[in-house]
Structures are given as C-alpha cells and as structure tokens.
C-alpha cells in the first residue's frame, strides 16, 4: 500500500529548539553566560536537526521474497523506499498474527539507512492463509530532525502449505485400475513382476521366450509378468471441527493439523508413485480437487489444503454427497471421527467395496482442557453450567461414542489406523492389497 504522510519535527527537535531559544534569550536578556554554556550544545543540536529538513516525501512499500511457503519456512520482507534521500534512520514494527514468527524477535527493528539492510524475516508456523508483512514504518531525517510516519503498511496474503513429510513407501495399491504406473496389477501384462511360465501363444513377444524351460520341455515357453498400473487415491479431509490446540509446526498438533499434514504426506507419496489423487474437504469451504497426477497437481492439492477453513456440518447437503470414487480407487478418510456424517460417508464407501482406510487424526494428548480451549461449544456450555463435572462427563461420553463409531467401521471391514507420521498407511495398504486379491462379495 502506498501513502504519503508528511515530515514532522521530532520531539527531540522541538525540545532542543525550545530550550535553546529560551536559554539563549534568557542569557542575552539577563546577561548570564552560564545559561549560554548550558544550552550551547542544544543550540547546535537544534540547528543541525532543522538544517536537515527533508524536501522530498518518501514512498514506502514492502516486497516479500515468497508468496507461497511451507510451514516453518521463512521469507524476507524488504522495505522499498523511493525519494528517500533525506532519510537517515528506519524503524519497522511488524504486526504478528497467530502462528507467525519474525526475525529479529518480536518483529521490531531499527537501523541506519544504508549501513545494513533493515529487513524483517517472517516464518509462518501453521498451514493456511496468513497475512505476512503487515507493519508500521517510521523514517527519520538526519540528526533526528524530522519524522515521517509512523505509517501502516498492509501485509500480503501468503499461502502456507502443510508440511508433507517425505517418506518412501513400498506398499502397493489395493486395486490399481489405471493405465501405466508403479503398482503390480492383478492382470498379466508387460511389467517386471514375475507371474509365471506358460506355453507360447501367438502374440507373445520373442524376447519373453524362456529358452531354458523350452529346451527342457521341447515346447516353447514364455515368462509371463504382471502389468503395472497406476491407482486412484481419494483423500477425504474432515474440516468440521478442530480438537486440541495447535502449537504450529514445531509444537503440539491439533486434530486438524494432523488431518491436513497427513493428507499432504499421503498426496505427496501418491503423486511420487504416479498415482492419481483427488481431494474432498468436508465442512467449512467444502473444497475439492478432481483426479490428477504430477507435480502441478500436487501443488494444487497442497494449495487447497492450505485454504481449508473450519466449518459446521451441513447435514442436509451431505446426504446427497457423492464421493465420485470409481472402482479401484482407494479412499483415505482423514478424520478425528467426531462427526456422524463422516462416519456415515465412510461406511457407505466401505459397503460399495471401495478399499477404504480411516486415518484417525485425534491427537493422543488431547485432553478436556485442551479441547475446551479451542472448542467454542463446550466452552460456552461450561460457562452456562458452571460445572466442570458435567463438562468432563460430556467429553468422556463423546470419546466413548467415537470409540464405538470406530469399532463399528472396523466391523464393516474398514481399516482404521491412527496417524503416526509418514509410513502410517504402508502396512494398511499392504493388508488391503492382500484382501483385494481374495474373492469377496460387493454390495452396490
């Protein structure tokens, strides 16, 4: 933002000028050289300050080095000055919103112009959209004679992407149904995974002939392999409520932190394997990203995760909700499972025969106190009842309900696994892959 406040004398200039004038006049009128000795330094100070009166009005703006960051990464806000020939000193005081760190600590810096860059570094500590670089700037002319500002500079919105911790997964997809990918398919094809040795049929490639077996059996045999296909992964993210307190990327994690970071990690891994990834956000902004693969698609998924906002459940709308998951798509539901509608959605996907995996993102350490600090409903309830005993009881009942929901989903055949960092779903997807190869009934 550009604005043009005016230069004004500083308090120091006013003080020096008033005292110097009063002292000099009194010294002359009373004939007291003592007073002149006393104010002589201030006469010089005032004269120097006033002599450096700025002529041009500076234009100030800030430039951020980056517009998109990952949690914990930093960017520098550089002050860009125009018409600043008369400026000697700069003071910058940043406005630090939640989950925003600054360097120097507190986002306050002062310094001489031209000596060293008076830059501020910002580091968002939590995913989301954060305003970075909002600050108040004051400029001072030579000998601290005049001050320009303090002037507020509006910050820029920065997209803070969740940290998707890299991990190397070796788990195969339960039901790959794509064209070309890294997963072992159930059908034969020209992959590298050994499937068996069979007799030659017209159409087989000559380089597949297994000469050793053919010589032994007097019949031409070929080495058969399985096809390798990509798979679809549908990430369903529960943004209906946030349980616990978020301490940023280096602190404790709330349920939504776990959900978003887990989704980012799974999406990154799936894209790296060449799988198609889709995203569906439940609650708040109801965002979605259609299927796609590649780095640009991953960037789109991460940007959508960063745009997630908490929102209540729209029960009526979700009854008509379609997951649009085709056969072979693995559905990964990331949720603390405190909302009934998410459980219903998960159960429906499981009944459809889709390999469904629930990643439980309720933090282990979430206690009643932590929950009430971030949950307005329970806090209001607590204020109304003035009885912590009832609130404790309510929270315990909610936890018991949650356990029951998770047990019911497990009984339906849905795999439930608590998020324990990268690699959490590896073992589960292996199990799902083994289960997918077994014959089973499918409800439609």
């Amino acid at each position: 933002m550009v604005s043009r406040p005016q230069w004004r004398p500083t308090a120091a200039t006013s003080r020096a000028a008033v005292i110097a004038t009063a002292g000099a006049v009194a010294a002359v009128l009373a004939g007291r050289p003592t007073l002149l000795v006393l104010v002589a330094p201030l006469v010089v100070a005032a004269a120097l300050a006033l002599a450096g009166r700025p002529r041009a009005t500076p234009v100030v703006r800030t430039d951020l080095d980056h517009r998109a960051l990952h949690e914990g990464q930093g960017t520098t806000a550089r002050l860009v000055l125009s018409d600043a020939d008369d400026v000697e000193q700069i003071t910058r005081v940043a406005s630090l919103g939640p989950f925003l760190r600054a360097q120097p600590a507190g986002g306050r810096v002062t310094g001489l112009l031209g000596a060293e860059p008076v830059d501020l570094e910002f580091s968002p500590q939590r995913w989301g959209r954060r305003v970075v670089g909002e600050e108040v700037v004051a400029l001072t002319s030579g000998w601290s004679g005049f001050r320009w500002g303090p002037q507020t500079i509006v910050g820029d919105q920065v997209r803070v992407l969740p940290v998707g911790l890299h991990y190397a997964s070796r788990a195969e997809s339960p039901q790959p149904r794509g064209l070309v990918g890294a997963h072992r398919s159930a059908r034969p094809g020209s992959g590298t995974e050994f499937a068996g040795i069979r007799t030659f049929v017209p159409g087989d490639r000559l380089r597949r002939i297994n000469w050793r077996v053919s010589a032994r059996t007097d019949e031409v045999h070929v080495t058969a392999t399985r096809a390798e296909e990509d798979a679809g992964v549908l990430l369903v993210v529960d943004a209906i409520a946030d349980h616990g307190i978020s301490g940023g990327v280096e602190g404790v994690e709330s349920s939504l932190d776990l959900t978003v970071r887990a989704a980012a990690a799974v999406a990154e891994q799936a894209v790296r394997q060449g799988d198609r990834v889709s995203l569906r956000v439940l609650g708040g902004s109801s965002l979605q990203v259609s299927y796609g693969s590649g780095k640009r698609h991953l960037a789109r998924v991460l940007a959508t995760l960063a745009a997630i906002q908490l929102g209540p459940a729209d029960e009526d709308g979700w009854e008509r909700l379609q997951l649009r998951a085709t056969e072979g798509t693995m559905v990964v539901v990331l949720s603390p499972m405190m909302a009934g509608v998410v459980a219903t959605l998960t159960a429906t996907a499981t009944r459809r025969g889709l390999p469904t995996l629930v990643v439980d993102t309720m933090p282990e350490a979430v206690s009643l106190e932590r929950h009430t600090a971030s949950s307005g409903g329970l806090r209001r309830h607590r204020a109304m009842t003035e009885s912590s005993h009832l609130v404790d009881l309510a929270w315990r009942m909610r936890r018991l309900e949650r356990e029951q929901v998770l047990a019911s989903l497990s009984a339906l055949g849905c795999t439930v696994v608590p998020w324990r960092g990268p690699g959490t779903i590896d073992e589960v997807t292996r199990t799902l892959a083994r289960r997918a190869r077994r014959p089973h009934l499918r409800l439609r």
Partner: protein, 170 residues
C-alpha cells in the same frame, strides 16, 4: 509496558532520568544549591520523560534546570556548568535514541554508536563556550556581543551539518 523494555532501553531511560537531576545538582558546589521545589519538579518531569520520551515532560525538566541555574546569584561562570551541560546533552541524546521506536525495539549498535559520537561532539561545544565566557569575564562588553555570539553559534552549526552530516551517517 515497562517489562517489555530491552536492557538498552532501560539503560538509556535511566540516563534520561538522571541527566536533568544531575544537571540541577551540579549547581550545588557553586554555592547556589538548587531549591527543593525545583529538584522535586526536575525529578518528576524527568521520570515522565523517561517513561514517555516523546512527551513535553523532557522540555519541562530541561526548562526547570535552566530556571534553577538562572536563579543562581553567581556573577561568574562556574566550571560545574559544563558538567550540567554534559548531563543535559546525555539526557537529550538518550531520549532521542529511545524515541526511535517502542520500548521493546532492540537498540541498533551502529545507530547507538553514531549518536554516542554525536553526543560527544555536541558536548564539546559547552567547554568551548565556557572557555570563551571565562576569557571575556570582567571585560567591557562591546555592543551586540551577545547577539553576534548566538548568531555565530547557529551559523557554525549549519556549516558543521553541511560538512559533517552526510559523512557521519554513512
């Protein structure tokens, strides 16, 4: 507010508080000790200036110091007045540096050093004027001496700014 002050801010604000008080008390050895009322006013206004360096409290404190010295009956220019001038310069510069930002802004080393040098240069004016005043004591005053002296001081300051100003900031 106070608990957010940095160490540097504490030190400078202490100078802002002590400077005018010291300048007032410096009149004691001359045989014209400051009045209690004047001392109380200086302490109170200096405290106000230390807490809010941009407030008029600093001007009031300095004015009270001037008044205290002006009311003295000494006909000569005592050397203690140089000490008083030094204390005022220190308080003025400290208040100036402190008012560059809020109390929790850490002081910039280079900026503080620049003002330390500037403060020393400003202080040097006081002994020069004292020497001049002492040398001229007891001599008949030529007409317009005082006005010429003040005007010369101002012109010297402007010339010094032109010559040294840009070099000291870079």
């Amino acid at each position: 507010m106070i608990r957010h002050w940095t160490r540097g801010q504490w030190a400078l604000r202490l100078v802002v508080l002590i400077g005018p008080v010291l300048a007032t008390l410096a009149a004691g050895p001359t045989g014209d000790p400051p009045g209690r009322f004047a001392l109380v006013v200086v302490v109170a206004t200096s405290l106000g200036s230390a807490l809010a360096p941009e407030s008029p409290a600093g001007t009031l404190a300095f004015a009270t110091v001037l008044l205290s010295w002006g009311l003295g009956g000494s006909a000569v220019t005592p050397p203690e007045v140089v000490l008083a001038a030094g204390a005022l310069v220190a308080a003025h510069v400290a208040a100036l540096v402190v008012s560059y930002g809020p109390g929790d802004v850490p002081l910039d080393r280079r900026l503080t050093l620049t003002w330390l040098v500037r403060g020393a240069v400003l202080f040097l004016v006081a002994p020069v004027v004292w020497l001049l005043a002492t040398a001229l004591e007891g001599q008949p005053e030529p007409a317009g001496l005082w006005m010429t002296g003040v005007a010369a001081l101002v012109v010297a300051a402007v010339v010094a700014n032109t010559a040294l100003g840009s070099r000291m900031t870079r």
